[in-house]
Symmetry: C2
């Protein structure tokens, strides 16, 4: 009712700039439910990216959490098409702000009827929109339809994915401003699952309190979050009473984390892989009956892979000429995907679409292996692979091994120029709190774990690594920081 009164019409884009909270949840269903497009904006993007996105999407209104009002104040002058800003709070908490046409969320809703006669419309109607920051070029928009969202939600709800039922409680720690929090708000509504929204505080202490206080049975998020939570549990000597499953995605989960959750807390951790362009869920790493007949060690090895494609998603790997490679667990090449919740085009962006879509298949930019049982293993981002002579070295493999070292908090491997080999690996390490790992110690730790040719030519230490807006290590910014670095072997 309130949106209609604001003049929002079918097909209009309405943006949100908000944490995971109940008002954001209401907007997911309200905006899409009237036939408009819920455009979730990632507040971690840069100023130029944010203005580009809002103007490219032609957002009519922006709904904004209190914390992001200052951010928007700095952008508003560059957003001429936005008709108004709705602060997601009540009258008492309304800020004074330089934003034009400022509205209060609860005041907007208060006079409206509580019953709404939801319209029926074509299933191909657009429902939501999310831009990826990318590492080069302008952000690109992935537009989802009601059809793709319902099918994706079904997929997320199957026994092979979240398997959530109305007796579960789910905590999505992934932000609702990024690929619809992996579709969990929809999947929870679909199955009557209790949904716990963490707001802005992702610290170990806050998450633990939420998990215990709300009886969370399943949680999902990026590995960084689970590192912090595990560390909190270790420091406090605590464990979970009801949590049974952690789904991790967005980056590879190191073996040590899977084992720590399993052995110290009885929590099953498995991978989910996907991208903004795939809604995002493409694979899930639940063990099959055959997997469970293997040794514990082998089971964890399978869990270190990204899982098998969910029903509806087709995957293949191709070489540089686009020829399909065998599914033998050895060959690796660019991962291509297609399916009902994979975008067919970027929103209003023909150039990006032409570069990404080929014969109905989407180029993921990930390099992966597939085996005969369907397990997919990400080798690297295509552009992060280290090309040493004829050999390709996975930066992700090196990083996962390095963070297994007890004195390492985070690690990044990058290919640095080398006159003979083209590139050779450099390992950049952030020490764990209070620890002082050494170059020699790191090299000795890796020596029996990787082939000699994969061994980093050098190890250096930094206080912190640069991250992208979605929390991944930004190799682009790291390379900029390393502009003056030369390998000792070069």
């Amino acid at each position: 009712h309130a949106l209609t009164r604001l003049g929002v019409e079918k097909g209009d884009r309405v943006a949100t700039l908000a944490w995971n909270g109940y008002r954001h949840f209401e907007l997911y269903f309200a905006i899409s439910g009237i036939g408009a497009v819920c455009h979730t904006i990632n507040p971690r993007l840069f100023h130029d990216q944010l203005t580009y996105i809002v103007n490219h999407a032609e957002d009519k209104y922006i709904f904004v959490d209190l914390t992001f009002v200052p951010l928007l104040e700095g952008l508003a002058a560059d957003l001429p098409k936005v008709k108004g800003y709705v602060v997601m709070t009540d009258a008492v908490h309304m800020p004074t702000s330089s934003l034009p046409n400022l509205l209060c969320y609860e005041d907007l809703l208060a006079p409206e009827a509580e019953v709404y006669d939801w319209p029926l419309f074509d299933e191909l109607t657009a429902s939501s929109l999310c831009y990826t920051s990318g590492t080069t070029g302008e952000p690109k928009g992935s537009l989802y339809s009601h059809r793709s969202t319902v099918l994706h939600s079904f997929s997320v709800s199957t026994g092979e994915a979240l398997a959530c039922s109305s007796s579960d409680t789910l905590l999505p720690v992934v932000p609702m401003f990024h690929v619809n929090a992996w579709g969990m708000p929809y999947a929870c509504a679909m199955n009557g699952v209790k949904l716990v929204l963490p707001g802005a505080d992702y610290s170990g202490a806050a998450l633990y309190e939420l998990i215990e206080g709300e009886g969370v049975t399943k949680a999902a998020g990026v590995p960084t979050i689970w590192f912090m939570l595990l560390e909190y549990l270790r420091n406090e000597g605590k464990t979970f009473s009801r949590l049974n499953t952690v789904v991790a995605g967005g980056a590879a989960v190191p073996r040590s984390m899977i084992e720590a959750f399993q052995n110290e807390h009885g929590v099953d951790v498995y991978h989910a892989w996907g991208m903004t362009e795939t809604s995002p869920v493409g694979t899930t790493g639940r063990l099959s009956a055959a997997d469970k007949r293997l040794s514990k060690e082998e089971q964890v090895s399978i869990k270190c892979k990204q899982g098998r494609a969910v029903y509806g998603l087709d995957m293949k790997i191709v070489d540089d000429d686009g020829q399909e490679l065998p599914r033998d667990g050895k060959a690796f090449g660019e991962l291509m995907v297609r399916g009902p919740w994979v975008i067919g085009a970027y929103f209003e962006n023909q150039a990006a679409t032409a570069a990404a879509i080929e014969d109905g298949w989407f180029r993921t930019g990930d390099v992966a292996r597939l085996d005969s049982a369907g397990h997919m293993q990400i080798v690297d981002r295509s552009k992060d692979l280290i090309k040493s002579g004829g050999e390709w070295i996975s930066s992700i493999d090196l990083e996962n091994l390095a963070v297994g070292h007890p004195e390492v908090a985070e690690a990044a491997a990058v290919g640095m120029p080398h006159p003979h080999w083209g590139e050779r690996p450099l390992l950049v390490v952030v020490a764990a709190e209070g620890a002082s790992p050494t170059r020699e110690g790191m090299l000795a730790y890796l020596a029996d774990k990787v082939a000699k040719i994969w061994m980093p030519d050098d190890v250096i230490f930094m206080d912190e690594l640069p991250h992208t807006a979605t929390g991944k290590i930004s190799k682009l910014q790291l390379r900029e920081k390393l502009a003056d670095y030369r390998l000792p072997t070069a």
Copy 2:
């Protein structure tokens, strides 16, 4: 390949007359996969119904299990359009038969390539067909599409329904010749679930051996099957090692059965409700977190209801004028449903369609209650409700109470003519093996369990009750048997 060589084309109907076996499973995917329609025939139907169905569907070929070859021999003269009969066996086991154009399944497949390039076609293409016997008139065909089948399979795969994963083993005891075995063959393929097919032997001993031998974790079927299995376990003093869930549908599950599985064997039993016209799954009876906070007693009471609608299916109850009734757990009326896997029309049958579909809603013929939490409770089949004065009495409620009596194997309640009340209930009882329940004992047993007006006016005993082709008590035939019966009160 083999079907194409036989001349089967897109849209052609190809029939199966078979038990749950792997060749039947192959046919599900082969026939539908090439764009033809897999028409499963219920061999329990009468001669006239079978010939009507095959001729109405214009089946091009019939694939038949060895056991049903004699049945078909008796029909073949009346099936002029059938081009051939394929016996689902190998050369060694081929029968001598009077059937014209007799082919051997394995001989048909042997020369063909094992790789097939599955065609892509419109999702609205018909995939399978199933006729309901009905109690009046000719059988009516429900035609399913690839779209409805995929969506239904997704629904069956969610956490609120079967929640099957690749570490599960599923035993559908419902026949594949009836509503695609509740969609389980598809749902298993969708999620990589091990599927165990019971063949023709549904006895307690055979099912127990399968469940234990194959490590079945979940099983689904009609209550009659589970009665036999429970009786077998009691007699043999056995229990299950891995079975954790039994889904029951097709008829109401009595309280005593839910409790026996739960308390004696640690197996969770819940209802699923549906019809041929709904693909069939419409509701599932999994307990929500709120339900689980109730007492054990109350939880079982909720499980005695038919469950809540799965996502995608809309339900309402209406009075005789088609006006929607409140969802208060008290009012009851005809249940109407709609959704992506509810038929919009009967196959080539305008009269039956006009009688069943109203404004996009399908009349189920079931009378039900809905409560505010969404639980649906079947009161009766519309035509089986006993109308006593102004009061409606549920024959199902009386039957469920009666079978709770330890000396009762099966029971049916029917309304018999009464000069004053219009109808009054008669209870027909089949005694449990070796037991001798009495009229007075039954009435005393019911006295404190139902309102006085619901008490049967008489109890009579039969050696067995007549059943329909899908295993339900045939009230129609029972009434014919009772044609000369008069109530002592009448």
